[in-house]
């Protein structure tokens, strides 16, 4: 170009440049820091509450799950960040600058998914491991009683086949299923952030997208619970929140999910939901006027 002060590099605007721009964008607004702090407070704080209030008479059936339960609160705040990554562009009009700079819209969305997804994954895993470490430290300091000790105290003979299913009062990463559950909690949180981003790409409005996200993770389970039992049982295992519960439990199926999917099958399903949502979002983004 005759006016370019410097020679343009070869090639064209692509994913690498788009990701660099998204990275700068993500960290140049305060809402990112605040929502991440909020998520951390929710995940770790609820863990401290859930484990710190254990009384000697409580029997902990899954100490790992007990320490990770804050993920259910954290996902709501984390979802807001996922929504804002896209909806703030529409709310403020930045989308026009973004799409003028990078007219290939699928590249813009891909860059957002990769940059936010990477940040989300790192933050989620750090939070999951932190909550686990804190929670187990508290439980062990309180000499919490697990199902195994409880059963032994009652003097019951435990069939060998279910010995492995009984929990100690506190867990360590070396025990069966524990590492998977902690990693799974982080994965669940990260993928839900991306699901929120996908919803915002379709809906474009912050309030609308947050409502939809809350609807999926909080309201949908209430509706399903209100259905006739056999129908409710058939549907419950497909819900993101129930998939999440299985993902960060070490063993057994939580009461409210009959015939739950295995943790990894559930996770695959969650990824599928997210990909479909992002796919529809991409289609909408490319087709509709900005």
């Amino acid at each position: 170009m005759p006016f370019a002060t410097e020679q343009p590099p070869p090639g064209r605007v692509g994913l690498r440049r788009a990701m660099a721009a998204e990275w700068t964008k993500l960290w140049s607004v305060r809402s990112t820091t605040w929502t991440l702090i909020g998520t951390a407070v929710a995940v770790v704080g609820l863990c401290a509450l859930g484990t710190g209030t254990v009384s000697p008479s409580d029997i902990i059936d899954d100490p790992t799950r007990r320490s990770l339960i804050g993920v259910f609160l954290g996902q709501l705040i984390f979802g807001v960040l996922g929504v804002l990554v896209m909806s703030a562009e529409y709310g403020t009009g930045t989308i026009r600058a973004t799409l003028s700079a990078i007219p290939r819209r699928s590249v813009v969305l891909t860059a957002k998914v990769l940059v936010f997804g990477a940040v989300a994954l790192v933050v989620s895993e750090v939070l999951a491991f932190s909550a686990f470490a804190l929670g187990q430290a508290i439980l062990s300091a309180k000499h919490a009683v697990g199902t195994k000790a409880a059963a032994q105290q009652l003097g019951q003979k435990i069939p060998h086949s279910i010995q492995g299913l009984l929990a100690n009062g506190s867990a360590s990463l070396g025990q069966a299923g524990v590492l998977r559950a902690v990693v799974g909690a982080g994965l669940y949180l990260a993928v839900l952030g991306l699901l929120a981003l996908g919803l915002a790409t379709i809906i474009r409005h912050t309030a609308g997208a947050i409502s939809a996200f809350v609807g999926v993770v909080l309201v949908l389970p209430l509706i399903v619970e209100a259905l006739p039992t056999d129908l409710s049982n058939a549907v419950a295992r497909y819900l993101p929140a129930n998939i999440g519960l299985v993902m960060f439990s070490t063993q057994g199926v939580p009461d409210r999910v009959a015939s739950a999917f295995s943790p990894w099958t559930g996770f695959a399903l969650l990824v599928l939901y997210t990909l479909v949502t992002l796919g529809i979002g991409c289609w909408v983004l490319v087709r509709r006027d900005a």
């Binding site: 006016f3 964008k25 140049s28």
Partner: protein, 300 residues
């Protein structure tokens, strides 16, 4: 160079742009003139591939916008004021755009300097005045040092000094050989800023001409007159077939008679004239041309 051919766009039942074709050439300032709601912004958005036309096509430097390898290095656009996240600093906003098009970081400070925002570069945009927001939008447009510039209503919200700054900037950019396309609904502003005009109304092309030809071609010329005997002159003008409109400031606007005819009429009746000015304003020409094509009228 911008080439639009048969551009059409409708929103529901409303035809926003209707079979619009025009060229915007380098080296001059081309004004894009039309009443509010006539389709100027939609056209500019179609040039930058933010809206897709229902039919027709528009190219920049011979290519559709979305095929430009580094769009910001070829086209700079200021579309609608305030399209910047209020929580982001001016510098961060520009840095984001610079990174997307592989533009050197140093250029960010250059354009901030150019638009006079260096001292507030680190401030959040939400605290900016409308005028500062416009300057930041112009800085973003200039970031890639592009050969084509699109400014949609750039003087909106600017103070007189800011307006003159934009005007000078447009002339400078065009003088460097760039293509400068500036929209406005203010005809007087266009008369001072633009060399060429693309005039639209109701989304249709009304005229594509130079500013001088546009004014000269206007048939509705009026004569502004000041006299100590307004009633006497008004009667005489009316008898001679002219129309008189009294302005609140005491002057009279006469149409239907040439200035020379008004002068001779006054002389023949011995009426003193304090002012006799033929008025052929762009505004009149514009009103005349768009009269049939105004989408929204005032209450009167």
């Amino acid at each position: 160079m911008i080439e639009a051919r048969g551009l059409s766009k409708r929103f529901g039942n409303v035809v926003a742009v209707d079979d619009l074709s025009f060229d915007v050439r380098p080296g001059t300032v081309t004004g894009f003139l039309g009443p509010n709601g006539s389709g100027k912004s939609t056209t500019m958005r179609m040039i930058m591939a933010l809206d897709s036309p229902d039919s027709g096509r528009v190219t920049v430097s011979g290519r559709p916008y979305h095929e430009l390898p580094w769009p910001m290095r070829e086209v700079g656009g200021l579309l609608e004021a305030r399209s910047i996240h209020p929580g982001r600093s001016a510098r961060a906003h520009l840095l984001t755009l610079a990174r997307s098009n592989a533009i050197a970081r140093a250029r960010v400070d250059d354009v901030l300097e150019l638009v006079g925002l260096t001292s507030v570069a680190g401030k959040r945009v939400g605290k900016f005045s409308l005028g500062m927001g416009q300057r930041l939008g112009i800085a973003a447009a200039l970031l890639g040092d592009p050969g084509v510039l699109l400014f949609d209503e750039p003087v909106n919200g600017l103070d007189p000094e800011g307006i003159r700054w934009v005007r000078t900037l447009c002339h400078t950019l065009a003088g460097e050989g760039r293509t400068v396309f500036v929209s406005s609904h203010l005809m007087a502003e266009m008369a001072l800023t633009a060399d060429h005009l693309v005039v639209i109304g109701k989304g249709k092309l009304i005229a594509e001409t130079s500013v001088a030809d546009f004014v000269a071609g206007s048939s509705r010329q009026s004569v502004k007159v000041r006299t100590p005997a307004p009633h006497q002159l008004a009667d005489a003008v009316t008898d001679a077939g002219g129309t008189v409109i009294s302005d609140p400031d005491g002057s009279m606007n006469i149409t239907g008679l040439a200035a020379s005819e008004v002068g001779e009429l006054a002389a023949s009746l011995g009426i003193a004239l304090h002012e006799l000015t033929p008025v052929a304003s762009l505004e009149d020409a514009f009103m005349e041309l768009t009269d049939e094509a105004v989408e929204f009228r005032g209450g009167s």
